[in-house]
């Protein structure tokens, strides 16, 4: 590649931190950013990928010691640059897009002020011409009705618009380099797709994009080149096509394997139609009052039957009513209309004391397991409490059982006296699962159980759920916005939108031949890995 197109040179970049204790977070990373190309840095959290991006901005963090053989941005060596000189580069030559615009844009200031700031700081345009440039940047970022949006604050915008506004702020001064740090994480698939397309457009216009992500799906969607990082070291580096198709390194392969995808093949359980369904739901409806008092249907007329040992995937974008359905299935929220039957007996519309004795049969796994643990309790207390609820009050027996449960979820027994707070995210979720199965439930409601986890952990937890389901003959309702995950775990899929069922049927059928346009749109937006060579 010609030097003229190289917008950034990075040779043997090493970053050390002195606080709170000395450690090296990045060691000898080298790469270049080329005009018109997207370089993706992939890694799990703690791999050093964010620090890499921030080092290019001179913002590696407090107490960071950044060294390199060569560090050039748009032809200018930047090592040893004064803060003042760095400021001239930031925003003007390099733009930064962070993960969540809700917190990455100043929530107190209108979007226009945020975008305009970069122009004001670099003295681009005049007070009079800047508003026009702000509108232009918003338009470039694909924001419809930019004049109106410019007046709003980030909190008043939808997730997608907000993220575009953030992009607009990053490109307003027309930097040649754009660093996008997890720009689509936690976004709904359709929005994610739009943002990635936007990055692609930037690259095609001749800018260089450094995309930082943990998701191989995102890499495969837009990246030209890939750099795989682990613990501050480069594992693998090269053109995206090569690495995605023929990963040389085992770590890269595990990252790729962790991307959830459709598990093809027939359902696992032989169908026995006369069996009592685990859950039978008919005409489930729930309204909530709007601030002005008028009721809004959050869930409308949902019916399904969950057969024992099977998994129903409940998918939809945020606000689709998935979680409300989950709460009604759990008997935590009473439906306004319709009924839930659990294992053949009425479950909704009965008195709480009646329900209480049967609660053991239906348990839940949360997105954020930590918040579901009493902060005073250790793993042991948590499990004993659950076993107490299940009727096991003999302490030695309960302790033995707790050990078995930990073994079942693949946790070492030594964590039993520990507080969940000091466990990793994956371990916490396993404790939550152990607690859920402690009562010998028949049904598990999983509400986004892996959304907050790293890809590899996510894969492991999904595998654990799968094996437990088989072993314990659990029936599951699996709620997620992630089509990949839903596709992987579900026997049946129900697609929700604005509280209504869009499509409902066997997973295979829906994935391979979605009927409803919305379902199709969802699937088109979803990211897929290229088939391995």
């Amino acid at each position: 590649m010609s030097g003229a197109d190289t917008l950034a040179h990075v040779e043997n970049l090493t970053v050390r931190f002195q606080r709170p204790h000395p450690r090296t977070v990045l060691r000898d990373i080298s790469f270049t950013l080329q005009a018109g190309r997207i370089l993706a840095i992939v890694g799990e959290s703690g791999s050093g990928k964010s620090v890499t991006g921030r080092s290019l901005l001179g913002l590696a963090g407090a107490g960071a010691v950044v060294t390199a053989q060569r560090l050039e941005i748009v032809g200018q060596p930047v090592l040893g640059l004064s803060q003042r000189a760095w400021r001239r580069l930031r925003g003007k030559e390099i733009g930064l897009v962070l993960q969540d615009a809700m917190v990455s844009l100043d929530p107190l200031r209108p979007v226009a002020a945020e975008i305009g700031e970069v122009l004001a700081v670099h003295d681009i345009g005049s007070r009079g011409t800047r508003p026009a440039r702000v509108i232009e940047a918003l338009t470039e970022a694909g924001v419809p009705r930019p004049e109106e949006r410019a007046r709003q604050r980030s909190g008043e915008l939808s997730g997608g618009l907000r993220q575009r506004a953030l992009v607009a702020a990053a490109i307003a001064a027309r930097p040649r380099i754009l660093i996008a740090d997890e720009p689509t994480t936690a976004l709904d698939p359709t929005v994610q797709r739009q943002i990635l397309d936007l990055l692609r457009t930037m690259a095609e216009r001749g800018d260089a994009v450094l995309l930082i992500t943990h998701d191989m799906g995102v890499v495969s969607a837009v990246a030209d080149d890939v750099l795989v990082l682990k613990d501050g070291h480069v594992i693998e580096q090269g053109p995206a096509q090569d690495i995605l198709r023929t990963p040389r390194h085992a770590y890269t392969r595990s990252l790729l394997a962790a991307v959830p995808g459709h598990r093809s093949g027939p359902s696992r359980i032989a169908e026995t139609s006369d069996e009592t369904p685990a859950l039978a739901v008919s005409g489930l409806t729930k309204h909530y009052p709007r601030p002005d008092g008028a009721p809004v249907a959050v869930v409308q007329d949902i019916s399904f039957t969950l057969r024992q040992g099977r998994t129903l995937g409940l998918v939809g974008e945020s606000g689709a009513g998935k979680s409300t359905v989950g709460r009604m299935l759990l008997g935590m929220t009473e439906p306004d209309a319709g009924a839930v039957r659990l294992l053949g007996d009425p479950w909704s519309g009965i008195a709480e004391p009646l329900r209480r004795s049967r609660r053991a049969a239906i348990q839940m796994i949360y997105q954020d397991p930590l918040s579901s643990f009493d902060p005073r309790l250790t793993v042991r207390d948590i499990l004993l409490d659950a076993l107490h609820a299940a009727g096991l009050r003999d302490k030695p027996a309960a302790l033995r059982r707790a050990g078995e449960l930990l073994a079942q979820v693949g946790l070492p027994e030594r964590i039993i006296p520990q507080s969940p707070r000091i466990l990793s995210g994956g371990q916490r979720q396993r404790v939550a699962i152990a607690r859920a199965i402690a009562t010998n439930p028949r049904v598990l409601i999983c509400d986004e159980p892996v959304s907050a986890l790293d890809v590899i952990t996510q894969a492991q937890v999904l595998e654990l759920l799968d094996s437990l389901q088989k072993r314990l003959n659990l029936s599951m309702v699996f709620i997620s916005h992630d089509l990949g995950v839903i596709g992987q775990v579900s026997d049946d899929i129900m697609v929700l939108r604005d509280g209504q069922v869009v499509e409902h049927g066997a997973a295979d059928a829906i994935i391979t031949a979605p009927k409803h346009p919305y379902t199709r749109q969802l699937f088109e937006a979803a990211l897929h890995l290229p088939k391995a060579a």
Binding site: L57, R153, A169
Partner: protein
């Protein structure tokens, strides 16, 4: 334009809510105080007549009638509420002057001191924050230490030290000075401990704001540290402190009781202290009324300040 109209409507609605809840607060405080004062033993006539006054039964009856003490409690209560509605808070037992006159006579001095102390508190707190918050651990430690130490300082002790050192010994300030020069020391004595409290709260939110991703975004745009602090983090940092304005003003009113004694200032604190010492119930009731009004007023000002700093909530209400 529609947006502005919505805002105005929302603002007016909020104002109305504040006033209505203020009325409620006023009524509840007056009623509770009235009830509480009923159980205090002792005959108010003794207080009215003054210590050791020679009272004939006629005189007692005259005083009872004059102060409405010959009526049953319920009637006195209704009478008080009626008077309150007309801005009449009754007569002081002690000085036999209208309570409103006495309170208004002290108001100017108290308002001046409260505003001066609030200014001192905010200036000291914000200077400390801007200089030391979200900087190196040494600076942060210094700032934090200053805040913890000042917030633990007894205001009346600080006042004694200040007046002894700067007025009695060094003669930099007058002992009983009026006007600005007399305001400085008491405002410092009140403002410095309050600055410690405000500083702690503000530092927390300032450092939180500086650790938010948007702060990184701002820096990535090439903005200077000062710009980040002043234009972004400070706004966020101000909010919790502003929300505590009512508490701050309440704290100042309370602390001013001792400070006014030390600096020989007149003001509401001194008035209330005397009323309590002499069991001058009408003044106590009047003070409660005044405090309830201050509560409403400060709430409205707080709303206004919050709106200046953070228009999100109002905008949200306007849309709803």
């Amino acid at each position: 334009m529609a947006q502005f109209r919505d805002l105005a409507v929302a603002g007016a609605r909020r104002l109305a809510t504040r006033l209505a809840s203020g009325l409620l607060v006023l009524w509840v405080s007056v009623t509770l105080t009235f009830l509480a004062l009923q159980v205090v033993p002792g005959d108010p006539v003794k207080i009215i007549a003054g210590p050791g006054a020679v009272l004939t039964p006629d005189a007692v009856a005259a005083l009872r009638q004059q102060f409405g003490l010959d009526q049953p409690a319920v009637e006195r209560y209704l009478h008080y509420l009626l008077g309150l509605a007309h801005g009449n808070l009754g007569m002081s037992y002690e000085s036999q002057q209208p309570v409103t006159t006495l309170i208004f006579g002290q108001l100017g001095s108290s308002v001046a001191l409260t505003l001066a102390a609030l200014s001192v508190a905010w200036i000291v707190a914000l200077l400390g924050i801007l200089l030391t918050a979200a900087r190196s651990p040494v600076w942060g430690g210094l700032g934090r230490g200053f805040e913890v130490i000042t917030s633990a300082l007894p205001d009346f002790w600080l006042g004694l030290l200040l007046i002894t050192a700067f007025s009695f010994k060094l003669h930099w300030f007058p002992a009983i000075g009026r006007g600005l020069s007399g305001l400085i020391l008491p405002a410092l004595a009140l403002g410095i401990p309050l600055a410690g409290f405000l500083g702690q709260i503000t530092r927390q939110s300032f450092e939180d704001a500086m650790a938010q991703p948007f702060a990184l975004s701002v820096q990535a745009r090439g903005a200077s540290d000062l710009r980040l602090r002043l234009r972004h983090a400070l706004r966020h940092a101000l909010l919790p402190g502003i929300a505590l304005s009512n508490w701050s003003v309440g704290w100042l009113l309370g602390a001013s009781v001792a400070i006014e004694q030390i600096f020989a200032r007149r003001g509401l604190g001194a008035l209330i202290l005397e009323a309590v010492q002499r069991r001058d119930f009408p003044i106590i009731m009047g003070s409660v009324v005044l405090i309830a009004l201050v509560y409403v007023l400060v709430n409205i000002v707080t709303d206004g300040l919050t709106f200046l700093v953070d228009r999100r909530s109002q905008a949200g209400e306007a849309r709803a």
